[in-house]
Symmetry: C2
Subunit: 235 residues, 2 copies
DNA sequence: GCAAAAGTGTTCATCGTACACCCATGC
DNA sequence: GCATGGGTGTACGATGAACACTTTTGC
């Protein structure tokens, strides 16, 4: 036996929701789709799964192709499978969400795709069911970041506490008391204060911090409270 | 255009991790696989996705086939995709986890599959990568149940607080102070006390409770604390 | 009457929240 | 010298944890 009988076969794809933070707004990276159907429309970066790779490998390959980066935070989100989601042919697509330091990303690497960062509040229309994928990714990010320190993946390796606070405030569309915020994040033991300051945001300057990678990996799976009242959040 | 060119096509399947609770132990339902390869071995209930259905529909169809039940709690878990996970032919399988009231399930419905409940601690060897699927499902259940009231899906519609506590203690392999436990669960406002008692577990009997469905659905997505110290749990 | 499980309250420590002032610097 | 953003401490209330005794009833 070298085949299962009487079963229908289809294509498998991955689509990547790539989040970045520019200091102001949470954004995602979109490309202009390069082939029919919907050629030229804004789309998530994606591609078909090859015969010799699994989904994780496929999404890593595709992300490297677009951003030039590897080793970024990448998590399988959900598999989308409506029979008619792709009008050409049945294609089941697994969405991944990725978090990258927007500063590491350089546009020229993938000029052929015409990639652009879009603020989440001002997304263009997307093809197929990608709107739904983005919605789910947003929810997942908000959910997960309320409990785990994944937001650091969106920041450079040196960052300031006001930067971090901006990020949380922007993701949760809220404001947080800065005294309580800094107490909370410092209490986690995840941050190591540096000697230098970032003078770009103010005259006085804000101290840089770096992640304590030891503690970061050790505590990644446990619950942390980075935002007030996570118990009452609704997602 | 009615096909994408030069892409490899494969099979898509779903596999279901079905959890139940017998009052003592958390269990999962396994069947004897009915076809080659690995025919006769213990396996998760699964099947191929048909051309006209999505993954949710496929898993519901398959669960109904095995248990006779529909409308049970069902959640997409993860898609498993190693190229050689099925030795016959490339098959990408999406795992679902299901929670059912073990008492509603009647074995005879699906005698042809020879289904059996196995305590999680004493699982037989499973085929392919199903061991990994079960591990992931266990982690997800523990994770999710620490924050959301999904464990009720494993109990009959009328249950007692000691039963509920047993369930939590068994899933987290721990013991909980009963005074604090009942305070916590009653404080959620999710339970409605009934007049009758369950006399099966003790001479005095324990009051039955039912879910307040209104509050249950309203609070499902928010965080609740059912177990002590969820902040310090590691999954 | 006794064994076995159900049910209930208080105290204390910890954590989370609200809140306001001084500091450093570039201009 | 002043405007701008950075940095810090305290007091109070809420929440979570530890802990022991009484009740009911079948045998």
């Amino acid at each position: 036996m070298n085949r299962y009988y009487k079963q229908s076969r289809g294509l498998n794809a991955v689509d990547c929701i790539i989040f970045g933070f520019d200091g102001e707004n949470l954004k995602i990276l979109l490309i202009k789709r390069g082939f029919e159907p919907e050629k030229g429309k804004w789309s998530l970066m994606g591609g078909f799964v090859q015969g010799n790779e699994n989904l994780d490998q496929a999404s890593n390959r595709i992300l490297k192709q677009l951003t030039g980066l590897d080793g970024m935070y990448l998590e399988q989100l959900h598999t989308f499978s409506d029979p008619d989601r792709d009008p050409i042919e049945r294609t089941i697509s697994t969405a991944y969400f990725a978090l990258i330091d927007l500063n590491k990303y350089e546009t020229q690497i993938s000029a052929e795709y015409h990639p652009e960062w879009f603020a989440l509040k001002r997304l263009p229309k997307l093809i197929f069911d990608q709107q739904e994928m983005v919605e789910m990714a947003k929810r997942r990010l908000r959910y997960k970041a309320a409990l785990h320190p994944i937001m650091f993946e969106l920041l450079p390796s040196r960052f300031t506490i006001p930067q971090l606070q901006n990020l949380y405030e922007s993701v949760y569309n809220t404001t947080i008391d800065k005294r309580n915020f800094s107490k909370r994040v410092l209490a986690t033991g995840l941050l190591i204060k540096q000697d230098e300051k970032d003078k770009s945001g103010s005259k006085r300057g804000a101290f840089y911090y770096q992640l304590n990678m030891q503690n970061y990996y050790a505590n990644f799976q446990s619950f942390l409270n980075f935002i007030p009242n996570p118990t009452h959040l609704i997602f």
